[in-house]
């Protein structure tokens, strides 16, 4: 068994990261999980959070994603995220933008509460909560972004 696997972080616009990794820690929607070489083939949806990639030398790199899904096979992890940033690259501005999107999604969900159902609103609220937690975790202020009109 190879001791590394291929890790790809893909956004709709381009391939963001493509590196070999020894383990990848993912924020799954039902809880965090770690993928290592030889992991059972799985497709898992993600919540907003940090993805940690540990390379062959044991160095960890973190990426913030705003949800998406990951395709895990025995020798690769492909993460499809609408937005992904290396933790070091996240500025308050980028984070504000993410928060604004999440708030907007929640507003839209609340506006459609009648047709879409309570579950939908709860999901959007959870998403916003996860996003806030992500900001606090990397040391950014979740309250700076203003709710769009």
């Amino acid at each position: 068994m190879a001791d590394t696997m291929q890790f790809d972080l893909v956004s709709p616009e381009r391939n963001l990261v493509s590196v070999p990794a020894r383990e990848v820690r993912l924020p799954g929607i039902d809880g965090d999980l770690t993928a290592m070489p030889g992991h059972a083939a799985t497709i898992v949806t993600l919540r907003p959070g940090l993805v940690t990639v540990v390379d062959g030398q044991g160095t960890a790199t973190e990426f913030a994603v705003t949800g998406g899904f990951a395709e895990i096979t025995g020798d690769s992890v492909s993460l499809l995220a609408e937005r992904g940033h290396a933790r070091a690259d996240i500025t308050q501005d980028i984070y504000n933008e993410m928060m604004r999107d999440a708030r907007r999604a929640k507003q839209a969900a609340e506006a459609r509460r009648g047709t879409a159902g309570e579950e939908f609103v709860a999901a959007a609220a959870k998403m916003l909560g996860d996003m806030e937690a992500l900001g606090t975790h990397v040391g950014l202020d979740p309250n700076q972004s203003t709710v769009p009109d």
């Binding site: 956004s11 616009e13 039902d30 059972a40 899904f69």
Partner: protein, 292 residues
Amino acid sequence: MPSLKDLKNRIGSVKNTRKITKAMQMVAAAKLRRAQEAAEAARPYAERMSAVMAGLTSAAAGSEGAPRLLAGTGSDQRHLLVVLTSERGLAGGFNSSIVKLARQQAETLAGEGKTVAIMTVGKKAREQLKREHGQRFVHHVDLSEVKRVGYDTARGIADEILDRFEGGDFDVATLFYSRFETVISQVPTARQIIPAVIEAGKDAGGASALYDYEPGEEAILAELLPRSVATQVFAALLENAASEQGARMTAMDNATRNAGDMIDRLTTVYNRSRQAAITKELIEIISGAEAL
């Protein structure tokens, strides 16, 4: 017979036109390269997405309670045509061929007694469809402020489509855009996005059985279908951007060549007239001298 001065002015003006079309051609060539790179870069995401979708949908399509985005509303009475064009003209037949395809489709559907609604993206579709199908317009997306098509643009359009679908405004949505084949060939294409069309041929059946899904397959599918609509809109926008520049490049190349031909022709006429004038003057002088 135009005067020499007129001819000279004419030649000058055609030369200016040639300069402009030449410049536009070169700008289009540079933009085309960028558009192609963007389309290239977006491919991995779209491919993975459709591979996963293929695995999921083949399993879910037959089952009871499949999401409406996949199974449809059970009717195909109301259609939404999403016509993607550019904001600018001077790109050969690029916009008109997309609009023509959409118009044919609209007329066929209307002829079958179905309800047709049209959503236009880009100014050109709106202008060209307004006269005949203006009453069918339901929404317009303005791209004039968009410098570079990004995923956000696509998601905006997709959200608009999905909102209308959730609101029960239509049963079937089709995208009209131009598929980029080569610089000289762009094919106007209609692509149904709702309900989702399952792409056959990718060893979907075998692959899907191997995966574990967390949460369940249905939950993932419900999450993925709206994303897939956005991805398809994004892919169409990128193809369109590349096609537009390709079409413009070819059109401007032709225009530059035509201008060159015209300059040659006019120059010949100009030289002939000039010589005729000189000859005429000489004859006048000689016959004047002889008369003395």
